[in-house]
């Protein structure tokens, strides 16, 4: 499957293999933890990671925008990895020249200390029935869409096989988003409660796994 449509709290959410979710009712494309500028930040500090084109990340986002044609794009934090560096430029240009609007829920890595054109910076975004934040929120009343965790799932099979896959984690109280950026790492999660669900992401397909 390339995408999976789900109705959550009467809203239509489409989970896409590009690690984005399209929310039809508000025409928003949601993603998390891009970590723009991470490579350059490392290199600036003398760590010689190959400076592979971070354009990859941007191109993937652009292709998703093309497919869903959203009115706005919402980043659930950690859009940027650290302080400003030149790697940010192509993103800033993209925001500036784009016809749609962009929202950033600020994350622990974002150190944005200047205004960015066409990028709204928020602490959180509360729009019924959802509550968008970077960190998972503990309050159970609100259905929370969040990032930060970089979730993945360790699939185990016969013959002691193991495969680790990034995933969306969907529970009764929240959806935790996978990290969108390359070179960001993941953290293994387990199914906690009955009814919880994983959407596992391989290179270009989605798989459902529920308890």
């Amino acid at each position: 499957m390339k995408n999976i449509k789900k109705i959550i709290h009467d809203q239509t959410l489409t989970f896409d293999f590009r690690k984005v979710v399209f929310w039809k009712e508000t025409s928003s494309l949601v993603l998390s933890d891009v970590h723009v500028g991470k490579i350059t930040h490392f290199r600036k500090n003398g760590i010689s990671i190959p400076s592979f084109p971070s354009t990859n990340n941007l191109n993937i986002l652009k292709s998703a925008i093309e497919d869903y044609n959203p009115k706005q794009v919402v980043f659930l934090g950690d859009l940027f990895h650290s302080d400003y560096n030149l790697e940010w430029e192509e993103w800033l240009t993209f925001f500036k020249t784009s016809k749609i609007t962009f929202k950033l829920i600020i994350g622990n890595h974002d150190s944005v200390n200047f205004k960015i054109k066409n990028l709204d910076i928020l602490k959180y975004w509360n729009i019924s029935p959802f509550y968008f934040s970077h960190y998972p929120v503990e309050e159970t009343k609100i259905f929370n869409l969040c990032g930060h965790i970089h979730p993945s799932f360790l699939l185990k099979g016969k013959g002691k096989q193991k495969i680790k896959l990034p995933c969306f984690y969907i529970s009764k109280k929240n959806i935790i988003f996978p990290s969108f950026g390359e070179f960001t790492g993941t953290h293994n999660l387990k199914l906690e409660n009955n009814g919880d669900e994983f959407i596992l992401i391989s290179k270009n397909e989605l798989f459902c796994l529920d308890s």
């Binding site: 003398g46 760590i47 990671i49 030149l86 790697e87 890595h109 016969k158 002691k160 096989q161 790492g185």
Partner: protein, 812 residues
């Protein structure tokens, strides 16, 4: 009188007063040292090797009776615990002879106060480790500090030569010799299979007409091996590596000996044994201690001194006590579990009877039944006088990068001049211009720069062509990172009152939660708090808890050891008839009952089914590293025939392919499974999809500074600069496959891990053997230790998405 006879008068006088006689190799060495010669001394620990060099090195200074303020002798030891010992024996020599010279130690344990003192003025004799030496070289003005050195001594060179620390020493020596051409270089080494080469590696190619002298002592150690087996071999477990059930067998030995060292193979095994012995012999409480690399240095030093002063009777330890610490009182040595190599075993045996001509006694305690075969093999090995080779590392670009940045951090370097002396080392004698240029590019522009906005910053090139680190942050981070011994991120373990207890690896802590109890240093602790890079714990009265474990390196049989083992094994069938008293007969009978024991012209494969799936076990008896390679190779070749997924496991005896479908060996064998053509290609294909190179890359990434492990004592380790080497490995593979560091991980895998040459030999042998394929209903005794191994890898030729689907079906 000549200078030499003056010297001889002086030293013999002193030795006479101690009632010692110079040995032949000592006199030979003195002569050569006084001539200004360089070389290697081949002598076992405890044979007076320090005395063979020190007096002659100091002689010119003593003779001119001038007080000197300079460093005149640099003494490099592989272990911190050794430094202290060497210092004491040097001090003894100096006081005895009324010499007004100072000795100092510089290593990771040296206090900040002492280090500051040394920054202003170094002692006349400095005892240090390779890492600390490189740190000195990365500080300003190091050249002047070293310009009056008479000699550099590298102690226990056999311990360094087969590791990247050896390369580090080679580079540091080259730099010292380039700026101080009159210094001589001396090594001291125990016997290894390639002692001549060990000398060449140490001395490099500095004086082409003269490559140094090799001085061999003719001291032979007599070693007595006794294996401890239960009266009833039936009591031996078929698997496991702890051997705990044999604690009772050890009691009489501990009671009989004045002092005993118990060697275990891993730190967690060490913890467990200490605990079990205490339970069995509570009277040992004040007389027993533990020593392993993660225990805090103060506690370690205390233990070492206590053994020396006969204050404690028993020490349970790991390889942390392998090296020269001079404990002459030790009476017995116990080795728990297979030592994996003859040289290591002999060296451990040498911890007892640590005086010339005393007999060394070692007890071998096998941890499972099959190790009894190993015991028999070891027994034969020590009787012959032959030990393994230790192969030097070549072209380790990670170490070179670390070294060059060190030079850049201190006074800076000029590439042309630097290349000249780097090429004189054994490790880099073949470095070509492209590689050199690449290394320089790596530290200045980050090797490749695809994008216009690149901001790479590490080493700057000044206008006069000097390569220099200007950023203080970069310099600081580099100094923290120096060292080539890599372990997982380490966390400081502290008791609630602030006492430092030692270090544990982050991955272990991450499995614990607050309040959980674990065993460390022989004491149960409860986790109180985890903060930053510290774990705060409280003592606990609990009687049970998790055992701390460390990833550390797993060792594999050397080729010599596996040869001995096979010889022993092929004998089993015969000895069943000829020697009814053989304690191994029970094992032989059991294995025969379930399956078969191969003769020298046979090769055994077993197939059986359990709830885990279909097991196929191959028994080459070649040691775990060769099996690691073979298992990948064979799994890969089989997977070419049919889409299939394997989980692989291996130990020193054989390897297992576990799959979810039955494997018809007869079918497979018709496909030239053991062919050694295309070996390189096939291995490369199977390794690319496996974890081996990835693991090698972990060390390389840390050494070359790609992975930053964080500043000690800094509240928040530079989290935003930390990344896993795993992640990096993928990035290199996908975006920069011609990166020399990435390539190095693959080369190292082939040369040091897969031991390609050995692998070809093994394939040839197996091909010539007759195959015995046993399809059996239950696992055989031989297979137990393998199938229960939990360290596993995968190899698959199925489509990735198909595998996920299959696994999901099984899951639901």
């Amino acid at each position: 009188m000549s200078d030499y006879s003056n010297f001889k008068n002086w030293i013999l006088n002193w030795m006479d007063s101690k009632d010692w006689k110079p040995q032949k190799f000592q006199s030979e060495a003195w002569k050569e040292v006084l001539k200004g010669q360089s070389g290697l001394i081949n002598a076992p620990t405890g044979s007076g090797k320090t005395l063979s060099l020190l007096p002659a090195i100091l002689w010119p200074t003593i003779n001119h009776s001038k007080k000197t303020n300079h460093l005149i002798c640099l003494w490099i030891t592989p272990l911190r615990s050794l430094s202290q010992q060497i210092k004491i024996s040097i001090e003894e020599f100096l006081t005895d002879n009324n010499l007004n010279l100072s000795v100092g130690v510089r290593n990771g344990d040296t206090s900040a106060k002492e280090r500051n003192k040394q920054r202003n003025k170094l002692p006349n004799i400095l005892v240090t480790t390779p890492e600390s030496l490189q740190l000195i070289i990365s500080s300003k003005d190091w050249k002047n500090k070293f310009s009056f050195i008479n000699a550099v001594v590298v102690d226990e060179w056999h311990e360094l030569i087969g590791s990247k620390r050896g390369v580090q020493v080679e580079l540091c020596l080259a730099a010292i010799r380039h700026f101080n051409t009159s210094t001589s270089i001396w090594g001291i080494s125990a016997t290894i299979g390639n002692i001549e080469q060990a000398k060449d590696v140490l001395l490099g190619n500095f004086k082409s007409e003269n490559n140094g002298v090799l001085i061999k002592s003719n001291i032979k150690k007599r070693i007595q091996v006794k294996s401890i087996a239960p009266n009833e071999i039936k009591q031996m477990p078929w698997r496991g590596h702890l051997g705990i059930n044999l604690t009772t067998e050890l009691i009489p030995i501990l009671k009989k000996s004045k002092s005993t060292l118990i060697f275990t193979n891993t730190r967690s095994q060490c913890e467990l044994w200490y605990q079990k012995l205490l339970e069995k012999m509570p009277e040992l409480a004040g007389d027993m201690a533990m020593h392993h690399g993660s225990i805090d240095r103060n506690i370690r030093l205390w233990v070492e001194n206590a053994v020396r002063n006969e204050k404690i009777k028993v020490v349970v330890c790991t390889s942390s006590l392998d090296l020269g610490v001079d404990f002459h009182p030790v009476e017995s040595i116990v080795q728990i579990g297979g030592p994996k190599g003859v040289a290591r075993f002999i060296q451990r045996a040498g911890r007892s009877g640590h005086r010339p001509k005393e007999v060394s006694k070692i007890y071998f305690l096998p941890t499972h039944a099959i190790e009894l075969i190993e015991a028999a093999a070891l027994n034969k090995a020590v009787k012959k006088d032959f030990v393994e080779q230790r192969n030097p590392y070549l072209l380790s670009f990670d170490v070179l990068i670390q070294f060059l940045v060190s030079l850049a951090v201190s006074d800076g370097f000029y590439p042309k001049q630097t290349l000249k002396f780097i090429k004189k080392t054994y490790a880099f004698s073949t470095i070509n211009n492209d590689e050199w240029e690449w290394v320089l590019r790596n530290i200045t522009v980050g090797s490749q720069s695809l994008q216009a906005y690149d901001e790479y910053k590490r080493v700057d090139i000044l206008e006069n062509g000097l390569f220099k680190v200007n950023s203080r942050k970069t310099a600081m981070r580099h100094r923290v990172q120096i060292g080539t011994i890599v372990s997982d991120a380490l966390l400081q373990l502290k008791s609630i009152n602030g006492r430092r207890l030692g270090k544990i690896e982050e991955w272990f802590v991450s499995k614990l939660s607050k309040g959980e109890v674990f065993l460390f240093g022989g004491q149960y602790y409860k986790i109180f708090q985890m903060k930053n890079m510290e774990v705060i714990v409280k003592k606990s009265k609990a009687k049970k808890g998790k055992i701390v474990s460390w990833m550390g390196g797993r060792m594999g049989f050397s080729s010599y050891m596996s040869e001995l083992l096979r010889a022993e094994l092929y004998d089993l069938n015969k000895s069943l008839l000829s020697n009814p008293e053989n304690p191994l007969n029970y094992l032989t009978k059991k294995q025969l009952e379930f399956s078969a024991i191969p003769n020298s012209d046979e090769f055994l494969i077993e197939s059986f089914k359990t709830k885990d799936g279909f097991h196929t076990i191959f028994y080459p008896f070649e040691g775990r590293f060769i099996h690691e390679a073979l298992s990948h190779l064979i799994a890969y070749r089989i997977s070419l025939l049919n889409p299939i997924t394997f989980s692989l496991a291996y130990n020193d005896y054989g390897f297992e392919l576990l799959s979810n479908e039955f494997l018809d060996i007869q079918d497979i064998l018709d496909n030239n499974l053991w062919d050694d053509s295309h070996l390189f290609q096939d291995l490369n294909d199977s390794i690319n999809t496996s974890e081996m190179a990835r693991r090698k890359f972990r060390d390389i990434a840390v050494i070359s500074g790609l992975v930053f492990t964080g500043m000690p004592n800094k509240r928040k380790g530079n989290r935003d600069l930390q990344s896993g080497s795993q992640l990096l490995f993928d990035v290199f593979r996908d975006y920069e496959p011609d990166n020399l560091l990435y390539k190095q991980s693959i080369n190292e895998t082939f040369e040091y891990q897969l031991e390609e040459g050995r692998l070809r030999e093994a394939l040839k042998r197996i091909k010539s053997q007759k195959l015995i394929w046993k399809q059996i209903p239950n696992p055989s005794p031989f297979s137990f230790p393998i199938i229960t191994d939990r360290m596993r890898e995968n190899l698959s030729s199925e489509k990735f998405e198909d595998r996920i689907k299959k696994m999901l079906e099984e899951y639901q």
